[in-house]
């Protein structure tokens, strides 16, 4: 009787409308769905091989997942978990970014040194742009005019004019750039460099580097402090930066570019996303196979949630969408 009522409660919680965090599990070919109220995995969805990049359409009605080893981007109905169709993505899509027009996906093809632009409506490739070796980080400016690809072995941020779908600048960063974001209404571009151990801050207008952020975790050799994914708090005042195998997240003041705090999380912390009001942050920890929940205001890890093997990306899905 007792177990039955628990089951009933569980079923209820899955059908209730709670905000969710969706996590790709690179080595499980699944996506774990975390309920933000209960902080538990409520659904696991089977997807293509080696899922990495994950993002929702603007209205959150469809989910896009890079199924890297299936060489495709899958379009998924988040309600049913069903794969609706696949998009031509070029070979080995790793990360992507959805243009503000809610239509164009800019996809990094890691094995081919190419960025592929796909129209999600016509499901056709619009352009393929030659970039550096092992493209990975993808970003698009809030006004949609500039897209960025970072290339891990070429060590550059490639600036793409989204009108012409061609490069207009290439800027060097430190070794193995992994992630890029436009912040402060698109006036700054931040690029993390995993092996370099830094984040380069560019002035978007001039593409000049205006600052470089360094990290130092007590008791961890600098070589192992490797910035990867990062996200900004409300108003872009602070960045939360995943530091890979140092198992820490750094909190960077976005005005002074100084690190204010380090938070211990799971092993090989990789990417992250916030809840709706950005009071909670969810980090994917590849090696420990879990997600750490961070209380943003208190700057504390409050829970770790077991997901699949090698959680990689995270994406927020709001209530009732």
């Amino acid at each position: 009787m007792k177990s039955l009522s628990i089951l009933a409660a569980l079923t209820l919680s899955t059908t209730a409308v709670a905000d969710e965090i969706w996590v790709t599990n690179e080595k499980d070919d699944t996506v774990s769905v975390i309920d933000i109220e209960t902080l538990e995995v409520v659904r696991t969805i089977e997807v293509g091989e080696r899922p990495r990049g994950i993002t929702f359409s603007k209205d959150h009605s469809v989910l896009y997942v890079c199924a890297s080893d299936s060489d495709t981007v899958q379009v998924i109905d988040p309600e049913s978990g069903e794969i609706l169709h696949e998009l031509p993505s070029g070979e080995d899509p790793e990360q992507f970014v959805l243009h503000p027009d809610d239509r164009r996906l800019y996809i990094a093809n890691e094995d081919d040194a190419i960025t592929t632009v796909v129209d999600t409506e016509t499901r056709k490739v619009i352009a393929q742009i030659d970039v550096g070796v092992e493209p990975e980080g993808m970003a698009v400016s809030p006004d949609g005019k500039i897209a960025i690809t970072t290339s891990e072995t070429t060590n550059m941020a490639h600036w793409i004019d989204t009108e012409t779908e061609s490069l207009f600048a290439n800027t060097l960063v430190d070794s193995r750039p992994r992630h890029a974001e436009f912040i402060k209404e698109g006036s700054e571009l931040w690029v993390s460099a995993e092996i370099g151990g830094t984040i380069s801050v560019f002035d978007v207008e001039t593409q000049e580097e205006k600052a470089k952020i360094d990290f130092e975790v007590q008791g961890v050799h600098p070589d192992r402090v490797q910035p990867v994914g990062f996200e900004m708090t409300a108003g872009d005042t602070h960045a939360f930066v995943a530091l890979g195998p140092s198992n820490h997240v750094a909190i960077v003041n976005a005005e002074t570019y100084e690190v204010e705090d380090y938070i211990l999380v799971g092993r090989r912390v990789w990417h992250m996303d916030f809840n709706a009001n950005r009071s909670l942050l969810f980090t994917t920890n590849g090696v420990s196979g879990d997600v750490t929940v961070i209380d943003v205001e208190k700057r504390e890890a409050i829970k770790s949630i077991k997901v699949g093997r090698f959680p990689w990306g995270a994406a927020f899905r709001p209530t009732g969408s």
């Binding site: 094995d111 070796v133 005019k145 500039i146 070429t154 070794s175 050799h221």
Partner: protein, 391 residues
């Protein structure tokens, strides 16, 4: 909308005008391959690919040129193969007159003669093949860098594993070829360094065909070792080691040149983005990437990285940059790779592997070092007798 478009156009123009002023740099690199006779081995499995090393250099060159096309920097590779009996020194002389950059797959004594040529003065040479400690020690040369780890770096990595596993009772079988003997010497040195000793040591001097006899011979051969934690095989020529596994008298792990191996690189390394390098290599050369390929790749990428960052093509600037603390190479081993400024050795983690998986990556946790944990592998600054880098 029109206004916004103008803004973009402005940005494009600016990029052309005020972007970093990168001039055209073109680098010609020689890959010198000196063929050496390989001793016959018992097994015909695993023949050495014809393009070993060179294939790694080619992949490094492709990586450099993909980056270079955004900076107007181009890289070319001239491969010079010296057949047995041909004059490697004369060929090196000609090549060095044309370009100061050379990656060498050659015996250590040949490398030293080349490094001492007047044509090699101020050159940037890479040893991508020889693990001899002396090249990093009293025989070091200021114009000779080493992307190939010394044998001792590999045996130190293995020994760290023994210490961590508390395998302190060890025995060794060593082959008779000079490479085997050198590896055995490196093992002895590493064990001493980490406070371990060899319980017993035997020489493999059989001439029977072990494909037929391993099951009968090896148990007897290993019976008098008594009990031990692990057996080390020094068989760098890959002659007999493969027949030791599962044939020992005691059921014990086999390590060294066979079984659990400490390698520069191995096809089973897939973490730290390595899967991408592996697939890039395999697609281009239709075979897995081997240690020699990695050493050649790292040499070419070192030059590429230095050119990218300095936008220079002259040997002095590039060498200074490579040996500076600004230099770092992302070498798919989880840490930035740098050069030891006291002997020109590329610092690098060493994967401990078996044929099917990575077991560990040295330096292992707990092996601390006052400067860089990677310097717990190989010849450290206080022990090195190399003075050629002192300037």
């Amino acid at each position: 909308m029109g206004g916004k478009f103008k803004h973009i156009a402005g940005v494009i123009a600016l990029a052309g005008l005020v972007g970093p002023a990168f001039a055209d740099v073109s680098l010609n690199i020689t890959y010198l391959y000196v063929e050496t006779p390989t001793p016959p081995t018992l097994s015909n499995l695993d023949p050495e690919p014809d393009d070993i090393g060179i294939a790694g250099a080619m992949t490094g060159l492709d990586d450099n040129n993909t980056t270079g096309r955004f900076l107007n920097q181009t890289f070319e590779l001239s491969t010079v193969t010296i057949a047995e009996g041909e004059d490697a020194i004369a060929a090196a002389r000609t090549a060095l007159t044309a370009s100061p950059y050379m990656v060498m797959d050659a015996p250590p004594d040949v490398q030293l003669v080349i490094a001492d040529l007047t044509e090699a003065e101020g050159a940037v040479l890479f040893n991508a093949s020889a693990g001899d400690l002396s090249l990093r020690d009293d025989q070091c040369r200021g114009n000779l860098l080493h992307t190939k780890p010394s044998d001792v770096m590999r045996t130190d990595a293995l020994t760290q594993f023994f210490v961590q596993k508390r395998w302190d009772s060890l025995v060794m079988i060593a082959g008779t070829y000079p490479e085997d003997q050198a590896y055995a010497e490196a093992v002895r040195r590493s064990l001493t360094k980490f406070g371990l000793t060899l319980g017993a040591e035997k020489e493999w001097a059989f001439d029977a065909d072990m494909r037929r006899n391993a099951a009968q011979e090896v148990p007897l051969f290993t019976q008098d070792f008594g009990d031990y934690d692990a057996l080390i095989v020094a068989d760098e020529t890959e002659d007999f080691g493969r027949y030791i596994l599962y044939n020992t008298w005691e059921a014990r792990p086999v390590t060294g040149s066979e079984g659990l191996r400490a390698e520069t690189w191995a096809p089973v390394v897939e973490q730290w983005g390595a899967a991408q390098l592996q697939s890039r290599f395999e697609e281009a050369h239709s075979r897995p990437m081997q240690p020699q390929d990695y050493a050649a790749w790292a040499a070419i990428r070192t030059l590429g990285e230095a050119v990218t960052r300095t936008n220079a093509g002259d040997a002095e600037t590039l060498r200074d940059y490579i040996l500076s603390d600004q230099f770092e190479l992302a070498g798919f081993k989880g840490r930035p790779l740098t050069y030891r400024t006291w002997n020109g050795q590329l610092r690098q983690p060493i994967p401990l592997v078996h044929d099917r998986a990575l077991v560990a990556l040295a330096p292992l946790e707990g092996f601390l070092h006052q400067v860089n944990e990677m310097d717990s592998l190989g010849l450290d600054e206080p022990e090195s007798k190399c003075a050629a880098f002192a300037d």
